[in-house]
Symmetry: C2
Subunit: 241 residues, 2 copies
DNA sequence: CAGTGGTCTAGACCACAGC
DNA sequence: CTGTGGTCTAGACCACTGA
């Protein structure tokens, strides 16, 4: 998947920052030096650095260079599109996933209709998974995978990683998502599953799209408010919409 | 502030999308056509389109073109760095700001120490503002502006827009921020100010930096959970950190 | 096949930082 | 002054789309 030279350079620099070869507060080699180091043109180097900028790994300062930023904040980057499985691995959490449901349905379940009222009905697969960390329920994930493009979802894949299945097994390209975060009143059933003291939970609702703009997944993630934490890195926009 | 040719092109295309000259589902002119339309090289056009991609205004499809995405989701883009004042204007909300505090202090207030424990003490300006929409309190913003680089903050500017003051009056370049969203128990005082039925509120805590990596502002925004909504557009990352 | 976006290159000129 | 990043250009080759 990672193929472009600029991506490889970005990947290499990112891992060198992660492993301390470039430390917080230090400057990366200049763009001209990186040009020689990687045997690439300056614009290619700049594309790589651009990616590190958007992650908040570096900040460029005109006339000086690219300084490595403090990345202790990246403890739990729910921002962006990543799966729980990817987070679990990259953070080495002791997490467990319990597959509660995985079934084909002929129409959009009422739960999704409530939070995505503009969605047309559709056949698809309903998946419900409870995520636990240290045996404490932290998230209840409800997914609806549209058919097409997703024909089926083997239980073993549902327990592992839906994204991995979509990307690696089906060969589809996951591209972007719109997300909203709100505080919602939940059902007794969900309260019980999450073992919450009251019916208030944080809901992250997202619509996930492929590179060809096909909607393929709706997700409702109900979080234990005590354990919910969303971390974001944002840059000031240069243009106003 | 907007100067680069690619920014101007991005700005122009964004406003044309906003005003319906390019509609959802339609394709923009091809990159080669835009090259002629704007008298720019293809790479410059591509930089402009890249910006529209990150906002979720368009999606590029290889071999086909750049399709305009549905932007009804952009109703309330708290994602990114924008001030309440900017949001208010761009969304034409009927909002009011009450300035509760605006004073110079010699050290970091305990409230900030609690949520930013790693911060060193510092002189600065403490500002507390209550935001109301239709006379209902929705957010209590607590800001701490570090001195240096911010020497003072006239009350009239605090009521208007801190960002505008920082950028236009002081000539500083606001560049990036790290944000966390959590659910927190608040004090009786804050509960009263926000007129909440209980002590639970959504906290958006952010550290805001200038382009030279100087920290200039800490913000704690306590939101009415019933009125809190965070909207985000995210793209799948090509590299793993 | 022609047209599209994806990528890379070499070179150029500018503004800024710091000596 | 030199070195840095910021920007733009013209041209090239590739892979994908769809007729």
């Amino acid at each position: 998947m990672v193929k472009a030279k600029s991506d490889l350079i970005a990947q290499d620099l990112a891992s060198k920052i992660k492993h301390g070869q470039f430390k917080c507060g230090e400057y990366l080699p200049s763009e001209n030096q990186l040009t020689d180091l990687y045997g690439a043109s300056r614009e290619t180097i700049r594309k790589a650095l651009q990616q590190l900028m958007t992650f908040g790994l570096i900040q460029k300062i005109k006339g000086k260079g690219s300084v490595v930023l403090d990345l202790q904040k990246f403890a739990f980057p729910i921002s962006g599109i990543s799966s729980f499985d990817e987070l679990n691995k990259s953070l080495k959490m002791h997490a467990e996933t319990r597959l509660l449901q995985d079934k084909m349905v002929n129409s959009l379940p009422p739960l999704f209709k409530k939070y995505f009222p503009e969605q047309l009905s559709n056949t698809g697969i309903y998946v419900e998974r409870l995520r636990l960390i240290n045996d404490e329920p932290v998230v209840l994930d409800c997914d609806f995978l549209l058919n097409p493009p997703v024909e089926q979802l083997p239980a073993v894949e549902a327990k592992h990683s839906i994204y991995s299945y979509i990307e690696n097994q089906l060969g589809l390209e996951v591209s972007y998502a719109t997300k909203t975060i709100t505080v919602e009143k939940i059902t007794d059933d969900f309260q019980k599953k999450l073992q919450l003291p009251n019916q208030q939970a944080v809901l992250v609702a997202s619509q996930n799209y492929l590179a060809d703009t096909t909607l393929f997944q709706l997700t409702l993630s109900f979080h234990n408010p005590r354990r919910f934490k969303f971390i974001d890195f944002a840059r000031r926009q240069k243009i106003k919409i």
